[in-house]
């Protein structure tokens, strides 16, 4: 009888090199009552990683509001779900793939998309649209071009191939991301509420079935890698990046949806971070059961895989299913139809333990495999890995407001036209056309409002209920401006939620639910932990004020390189619904309309604005803050006006201030406007570029003025007629006079400084 290949002896030093802390390791030894095996140490290290255990964030995440009348499934499952009526729900989640994308931008981003798609279809939902939120370093950083091109190509390659439209997103460039980019991927799918599937290993004795791609050595320890900072040796981490195959995922998607339709499963979960280990352990944990795996029967594409490697591989496009008794053959038949590998690899047990067996030296890929004689290589109580995993209330240190920074106001504006043109053509504000044209954003015949046409994407979904098909319309947006979070984490995070919901309100949609992706630096730094905690409070209060529950999310910590953290970036995405598709409002002006502003006009605070940051080179200035009650009133009004169908356009004031807002409404449709804001010169011009929130610019046919004014008055929202649309120039008081064509040209070419001319 052969033995397992020689593995290093397990001790504290090895545990530390696996990312475990000393006290975590000693707790493992004392609870197990013995030294863990090498494979077990691997299991502990991934399950105790920040990525899987949420050990630093869990105590804070509890403060988020997660309930509401529309919530079908809150956090804790593979994705969240909200009711969209007639027995259907929208299933969605956002996830980070930051660390892998920095090491290998194409594969990192591609597998990020693959992972989030699986999280959604694992729930029994057909994915119908994706968004992404990206952060790169400064535009002239030597790696920015390669990272941007690779990430966009990776997202496009995966999403285009599998046939899920990528309908929107956001991108920022800031030097804080020079050494640590962010790739957050969002997918929403549609399911019958009664047909949702959950990640539960129920039914003692039921078969645990492996479906999909064979296991290789790729992505081993990916979750641990994603839970550590980068340093100058990070390039050596390449083998920890997974490799994606969107064709395989497309087969897996169609096959899974057909398997789900037979109702032969008890539970299902995709093998994502920490692969087979986390999927089987989490399924067992949710059901309060144990699971016993026979590693000899794992389908594999590489020879000589050790138990450790099989347990920790993050090979993509794999699912773990638990079949109802006697119905395994239905899974096998559909896998045959779709030419997918399938194997029974274990059973659900009543022991409450995670047990894995393997035969030393056995390899099914050998010409003559040694006889099977499995031995126990892992035997761990499930609660140790999930419910009793470490969690920390890490120390925090408040970062008080800096009065010196708050007083920074930047240079005096002399030529507002030139300043506005430069902003419109800047990488942070200009057109993302170069990006979204590389994504198939029209597949599935549902994209009603395409990228760039409105504040949010609008997607038609077909809810098929027997012979009856009901068409529904979802609105989607993803937002976060990390600079505002940096200046004031509480207000900045609240502003991210507010802007996202406001984007939906501008197209006329009611927000149903939110998913977040909280990207921060090292939780072991008290200042970062304080920012994280304050951001949670900001999200909580904004969600409560706007009536939007959090239904799923993800935390990505340790986003720093050589001790330099990223801007705190609590990205949020919201799914909303339009009452009727005719309610939808886009952002481009049409001629002959009256233009009005909604919300309190800017006082001129420039903190964290694109204009001030571009002038000073630092995130600084007077924080703008947000009045959540005023925000809620504004959003209610925008939706009401959409329902009345009186609006020609609606566009919220955000990055670049009202100047950029007006310019974008002009260049979207090539229609100019003449605006009076009462600005003359000097410091007053700051009001053009202030990013104070809770404002929008609308246009409507003049005969609707009285009804719009009355609605605003009744809603308690400040309303002011500020001009008219028409012509081919954008004129603001006597301070801005620009041709719409010149604006459109600058806007279109905004990314040329990074990717070159088209």
């Amino acid at each position: 009888m052969k033995d397992f290949p020689k593995e290093p002896p397990v001790d504290l030093g090895l545990a530390k090199s696996f990312g475990l802390h000393e006290d975590e390791y000693s707790r493992v030894v004392s609870t197990l009552g013995r030294i863990p095996s090498y494979a077990e140490l691997g299991v502990f290290s991934v399950m105790y990683s920040e990525h899987c255990s949420y050990k630093s964030s869990r105590v804070h995440l509890r403060r988020l509001p997660t309930t509401g009348p529309k919530v079908v499934q809150g956090p804790g499952e593979n994705a969240g779900a909200v009711d969209i009526g007639d027995g259907f729900c929208a299933v969605f989640k956002m996830e980070s793939h930051n660390h892998p994308s920095f090491i290998a931008p194409f594969q990192g981003a591609a597998t990020g998309v693959g992972g989030i798609l699986r999280d959604v279809f694992t729930m029994g939902a057909r994915p119908i649209a994706s968004l992404n939120s990206l952060r790169f370093g400064r535009p002239d950083h030597p790696r920015t071009k390669e990272l941007l091109s690779g990430v966009v190509k990776g997202i496009g390659d995966y999403g285009n191939c599998i046939g899920v439209p990528t309908v929107g997103g956001e991108v920022y460039f800031d030097k804080s991301y020079d050494g640590n980019i962010l790739v957050n991927a969002f997918t929403v799918g549609i399911a019958k509420t009664a047909g949702l599937f959950f990640g539960k290993a129920s039914g003692i004795g039921n078969a645990v079935i492996y479906v999909g791609a064979r296991t290789g050595r790729d992505g081993i320890h990916g979750a641990t890698m994603a839970s550590a900072e980068f340093d100058d040796k990070s390039e050596k981490k390449l083998p920890t990046v997974q490799v994606g195959d969107p064709f395989m995922e497309k087969l897996l998607l169609e096959c899974c949806l057909e398997i789900f339709a037979t109702d032969c499963l008890e539970g299902v979960q995709d093998m994502g971070a920490a692969g087979l280990t986390s999927s089987s352990v989490e399924m067992a944990s949710r059901a309060g059961n144990g699971v016993e795996l026979d590693l000899d029967s794992i389908p594999r594409r590489t020879t000589k895989l050790t138990p450790y490697e099989m347990l920790l591989s993050e090979s993509q496009e794999r699912m773990l299913m638990v079949a109802k008794p006697g119905r395994e053959h239905e899974v096998f038949e559909l896998c045959k139809k779709w030419d997918l590998d399938v194997a029974i690899i274990g059973r659900v047990t009543d022991t409450g333990r995670f047990v894995c067996k393997a035969t030393p030296g056995y390899d099914p890929l050998d010409d003559q495999p040694v006889p099977r004689d499995p031995r126990v290589v892992v035997d761990i109580p499930v609660p140790m890995l999930v419910d009793d995993a470490p969690r920390y209330e890490r120390p925090q240190r408040e970062v008080p407001p800096d009065p010196v920074a708050s007083a920074v106001i930047g240079p005096t504006i002399k030529d507002a036209s030139a300043e506005l043109l430069a902003l419109v053509g800047s990488p942070n504000i200009g057109s993302r056309q170069w990006i979204w044209r590389q994504y198939d954003h029209v597949v599935r015949d549902g994209t009603v409002v395409r990228p760039g046409a409105a504040d949010a994407a609008v997607v038609r979904v077909f809810c098929e209920d027997g012979a009856r098909t009901i068409e529904k319309y979802l609105a989607l947006s993803v937002d976060c401006n990390g600079r505002h979070v940096q200046l004031d984490p509480y207000m900045g995070a609240a502003m991210a939620v507010a802007e996202c919901a406001r984007n939906l309100a501008c197209v006329g949609a009611e927000s149903l639910g939110l998913t977040d992706c909280l990207n921060f630096g090292s939780p072991e730094k008290p200042e970062t932990m304080w920012r994280f905690s304050r951001s949670i409070d900001g999200i909580r209060d904004a969600c409560n004020a706007l009536g939007v529950p959090v239904v799923s999310g993800n935390v990505s910590l340790y986003n720093e390189t050589d001790g330099q953290p990223i801007l705190p970036t609590p990205t949020v995405a919201i799914v909303g619904q339009l009452r009727e598709v005719e309610d939808r409002v886009t952002l481009g002006f049409h001629a002959g309309m009256q233009v009005a502003s909604l919300g309190t006009p800017a006082r001129g605070a420039l903190g964290a604005s694109e204009w001030l940051t571009s002038k000073v080179g630092e995130v600084t200035g007077e924080p703008v803050g947000i009045d959540l009650a005023a925000e809620a009133r504004l959003q209610k009004l925008l939706i009401e006006l959409a329902h009345k169908r009186v609006l020609g356009s609606a566009h919220d004031v955000s990055d670049g201030g009202i100047g950029v807002c007006l310019a974008e409404s002009c260049l979207a449709t090539g229609v100019g406007c003449t605006i009076e804001l009462g600005l003359s010169s000097g410091r007053e011009l700051a009001k053009l570029f202030s990013e104070e929130p809770s404002r929008a610019v609308i246009s409507y046919a003049p005969q609707h003025e009285a009804s719009v004014r009355a609605a605003a008055q009744a809603a308690g929202v400040p309303f002011a007629v500020i001009g008219t649309t028409g012509g081919d120039r954008l004129r603001i008081d006597r301070v801005v006079d620009l041709g719409v064509l010149a604006l459109a040209d600058a806007h279109r070419r905004a990314l040329e400084c990074i990717v070159g001319p088209e």
């Binding site: 064709f247 087969l251 139809k337 590389q438 597949v443 599935r444 015949d445 038609r460 088209e758």
Partner: protein, 232 residues
């Protein structure tokens, strides 16, 4: 009117084709899985867009070896109307039902955006559209650059097989920047018998005003008129 929409592993615009023909046109449209060997009682066949077999080896290449391929070939040989959209066009060229090949876009990127097409050759999918009319619909492809040798190009002209050219909003061909580098800005071609059409743009994604354009519906309306004319 019975329309078969062929589903290869990796097809992803199969639903789009089904929706446009079943829900918008009102035909009896259904999927036919690639492992089937019969198209049933189909009056017309659509080979939809996507990434059949992951586009591994060469776009459309492996689909030719699927069991259903022979049935498509026979249906076409018997004069049945066959429409290949995007990856379907690529498959039909690999099946040698259409001349020419589709290679990587000249700019080397996948590109999704609305383009304009000028209608040319007449056939079951275009006979009722006035020649020279400009249609707007989306493209979404990385490998849409139509190429063929000079002899093939001469035959295309001689037999009036060029169904669509990329053009500008006014219908001018070759005045603006090229869409993907296709020879003579060719976007779609018929076979010599004019019953098989392949095009890179997506008429099935431009068949409802709600989606931004219903110009593509004219191809399906032409097919309906063609089949009704035959039945009468």
């Amino acid at each position: 009117m019975d329309i078969a929409v062929v589903v290869f592993p990796g097809s992803n615009a199969d639903f789009d084709a089904l929706h446009a023909t079943r829900d918008v046109l009102g035909a009896k449209a259904r999927y036919v899985f690639h492992k089937d060997t019969s198209l049933g009682a189909a009056d017309a066949v659509i080979v939809p867009g996507g990434f059949s077999y992951g586009d591994y080896l060469r776009t459309g290449a492996i689909a030719c070896f699927s069991p259903i391929a022979e049935a498509i070939r026979q249906f076409a040989d018997q004069g049945g109307p066959v429409l290949g959209i995007c990856n379907g066009f690529q498959i039909l060229t690999e099946l040698r039902l259409l001349p020419g090949v589709l290679t990587r876009n000249a700019h080397l990127r996948f590109e999704c955006r609305d383009i304009y097409l000028r209608v040319g050759a007449r056939g079951p999918f275009t006979h009722s559209i006035p020649q020279g009319r400009v249609l707007r619909m989306p493209i979404a492809h990385g490998d849409g650059r139509y190429q063929c040798d000079p002899a093939t190009l001469a035959r295309l002209h001689k037999h009036d097989q060029i169904a669509f050219h990329y053009c500008d909003a006014q219908g001018n061909v070759g005045k603006g920047p090229t869409v993907n580098g296709s020879i003579e800005e060719i976007a779609g071609v018929y076979n010599e018998q004019k019953n098989v059409l392949g095009l890179m743009p997506h008429p099935e994604r431009a068949s409802e005003a709600l989606l931004g354009s219903d110009d593509g519906f004219q191809l399906f309306a032409a097919l309906r008129a063609h089949l009704q004319g035959k039945a009468a």
